[in-house]
Point group: C3
Chain length 349, copies 3
């Protein structure tokens, strides 16, 4: 059942221009460094130009103006990245048959509402008052708490848990182990000990949101923790209580956002960034990887570093820091020269 296509067919379906033998057959895809002679690959990132000269692939999808050497046939396309994404499903393993119906082992409260065309896997628990929308798939071992609302066409992978009263929009994807609505982290100090502040708010997640595996979104202390429409969150991200994330923001793996911070629309937080609490990060902000954000950031800014500073400044400061030995040598040389001058001055007196 493996798909086999000729390069001529591939080029035609991708609306590309083939340079090479159209009769050669391919049966799969791979990265340019790993590709074997029966595979198709692509170059979108200039870093891989060298690899193109040595690839063992049958053919490489390249940009239309490509002029570097290549050891394989070329298929020139307008956007190699996009073309490759289009070709990938042709050769992929057959998609998994969709989960259907409600598994007999699922424990669903009679006071929960599951749409007739939703699917619920084995060992799921759906509590009283919860609603699961049309065509939504709740995979094995998920926990859906009291009064939770999930929209239409969502996909929850195994072991997701959503605590009471949280609301998920439509067309959302939640990957394995993600937790929505765990308690926010808040205490009142009483002597050396701490008394827990009840966390009685909820989490509201918009439409078209994707949350990676083991993403943690804490419920609000009161009111709502909110994730806007179209937000994409990578694995192992921490989103604390009362955080608000604007539409179409992108949060890369292992980012942590502390309580009550507001992230603007389309803002991108790169991997392992930390953002302190009670801040306002504007829209269209880019925060570089591993940065620590401790102040508000205006919209349309690119910041980097710990603590985060404007990108150009951060890069400049870093470069100067790496040249500190040189600066110190200059200062030592100045001291020597100045001492000689002072000596000669005294000698003249």
């Amino acid at each position: 059942m493996q798909t086999i296509m000729t390069l001529a067919e591939v080029a035609r379906k991708l609306d590309g221009a083939l340079e090479g033998d159209g009769r050669v057959q391919v049966s799969g895809l791979a990265g340019i460094r790993e590709a074997e002679p029966h595979q198709l690959t692509f170059v979108a990132n200039p870093q891989y130009a060298a690899a193109a000269a040595a690839t063992r692939a049958a053919a490489v999808l390249v940009p239309e103006d490509w002029n570097r050497p290549c050891s394989a046939a070329l298929i020139r396309v307008r956007n190699p990245d996009k073309a490759f994404a289009m070709a990938a499903p042709w050769f992929a393993p057959p998609p998994v048959p969709p989960l259907q119906g409600v598994h007999e082992t699922a424990v669903i409260s009679p006071a929960a509402q599951v749409a007739p065309d939703a699917a619920v896997g084995p060992f799921c628990v759906i509590e009283e008052g919860a609603c699961v929308g049309p065509r939504t798939v709740v995979s094995a071992g998920c926990y859906i708490g009291h009064g939770v609302q999930i929209g239409a066409d969502c996909r929850l992978y195994p072991h997701v848990s959503i605590r009471e009263y949280c609301r998920i929009g439509s067309r959302c994807i939640l990957h394995n182990g993600t937790v929505i609505g765990s308690d926010g982290f808040g205490y009142v100090q009483e002597g050396a000990a701490r008394r827990k502040i009840p966390q009685i708010g909820i989490v509201i997640i918009g439409d078209d949101v994707e949350l990676g595996a083991n993403v943690m979104v804490d419920r609000a202390r009161f009111g709502q923790t909110r994730i806007g429409n179209g937000v994409k969150v990578d694995n192992l991200v921490q989103i604390a209580h009362n955080v608000i994330i604007g539409d179409n923001a992108v949060i890369i793996a292992q980012v942590g956002i502390a309580g009550s911070t507001i992230i603007g629309e389309r803002t991108i937080l790169a991997g392992q960034v930390g953002v302190a609490g009670h801040l306002t990060i504007g829209s269209d902000v880019m925060v570089g990887a591993q940065s620590g954000v401790s102040k508000n950031i205006p919209s349309k800014t690119f910041v980097l570093g710990g603590p985060a500073a404007p990108y150009e400044k951060s890069v400049k400061i870093h470069a100067m820091t790496m040249r500190l030995p040189e600066l110190r040598e200059k200062v030592t040389a100045l001291e020597d020269r100045l001492a000689r001058l002072e000596q000669s001055g005294k000698a003249k007196q």
Copy 2:
């Protein structure tokens, strides 16, 4: 079933002084930036003073000596933060009915002991020799290993797992997906490969401990990994084998503590901090966010940075680093002036 109260009632119940129309009704709570005209809010953090001037809330809980402009009625209280925490439950959704009894799907070893008034949710597994104390709630899908002991009045949220022989005190809260007693990370190198060192110790967790969602506490290589009484741990924290955490310590999200390190009482590790192994961190230490701790730290110290240094020093060094361009300009100016002096000296000779 929504609670509605007048501002007069709110002020009276909070023992506060109202400035505004006592007949106005509120039906909920929200943050000062999001509050709507039927909601109550508060200001505890001076950062929000500006927001108070523009809030749409019906009333704001403020400190007794508040003297800033505010667009809403005021209720002066001794501690707005605490008063708000007290008011929050009045307006919250009804608490979820507590889990009761042992769900028929739970798989409980006949050689396990579950207190008659403990609750065990669907799809839980409780192995041989495990003990679950009075009034403790084990939510859906938890795994309680062989010989595990859990005290009274604990709450385990869904998907917690506790491996063999670990012990949890009383009144502990473990959030979704938390793992207690996974193997510590230890190997003996044998050529290029590594042989696993058996991890045969346990984890002991004190009373009144709260562990966030997806907290990982590894079992000891031998002996015990220990978490003291009253310790509070946020989401996605890593606590390695043989770590000892003193009473009432606070560990914020995404912190990692390497093996055999000792953390003193009441010490606070802010978000994303990393602590190397085999260290002793004193009591009442504060470690700033994202710091990297590579040396012992004496008690009552505030450290910051990577590697962590005393706070004031760290802040000073950072400020100087950010002024490196200015320092380099000074050195260049010195070089020019010195060259002129040297020239004029030569000219005179």
Copy 3:
């Protein structure tokens, strides 16, 4: 059923030389700082030499050339660390009886293949086409997706999930909550929104791999995310799509590796390291804790810092940065001296 041994027996079984009373009995092991009078401990790390002088242990395993004071009996051995690892199981709680057979609650597709001597715990789901090899143990609540292949003698702890078509070698250990094959994080921007790039590759994990608790390994966008033989990964690590990790590499807790990066054989990434995407990290590389790697790294290099630089350079630059106040004072002193010289020069004119 507690094991009790005399020091003479311990010394004999470890092939060590006892200095002290061979009749003294020990019944357990502990760290040198926590050990009690009936316990055995060891010193391998020079940091603990001071603790050896004060330990309450019955005896301490020490290196053969040990010449520091010690408050307990000594047992001189060639490798105290290894000897201790050998002694640990003698005193450990009885190992948990191995899971056997297939639990009646497990939901296993009739089109899955489970070896007759494999074990499957309660509430596991094994989908169509999946294969579980001989003697492999799948603990409670695991999810094994369509067409997944797991080799022989593996151990999956509770709540592991492996998505469709991924392949695990033999003798692998996967700790609680680990997720294999979740979607890689990839989108094509379309205006403000993002269209998901199908992630249709798989994950291939070699033999003798250990993955800690809540490790996330994303499936490839196409082709394979690959983890080599003998790789050891600590808790809460993020491995993105299309990453390739060489044999015997070691990845410590909370590391994040971005998409398409290649990590060489035997390379060690210390805790909380971040590695950018599309990089090649050589073999036998050591990356210090919390470093940020943004460029390719040649083999046999030790790097540190954010961004990572060669270790010696990084340490030197850090030392100089910490002495910036001193450098600035020197520059100020130079300015003063130079101004005086300039003044005296003018005075003479």
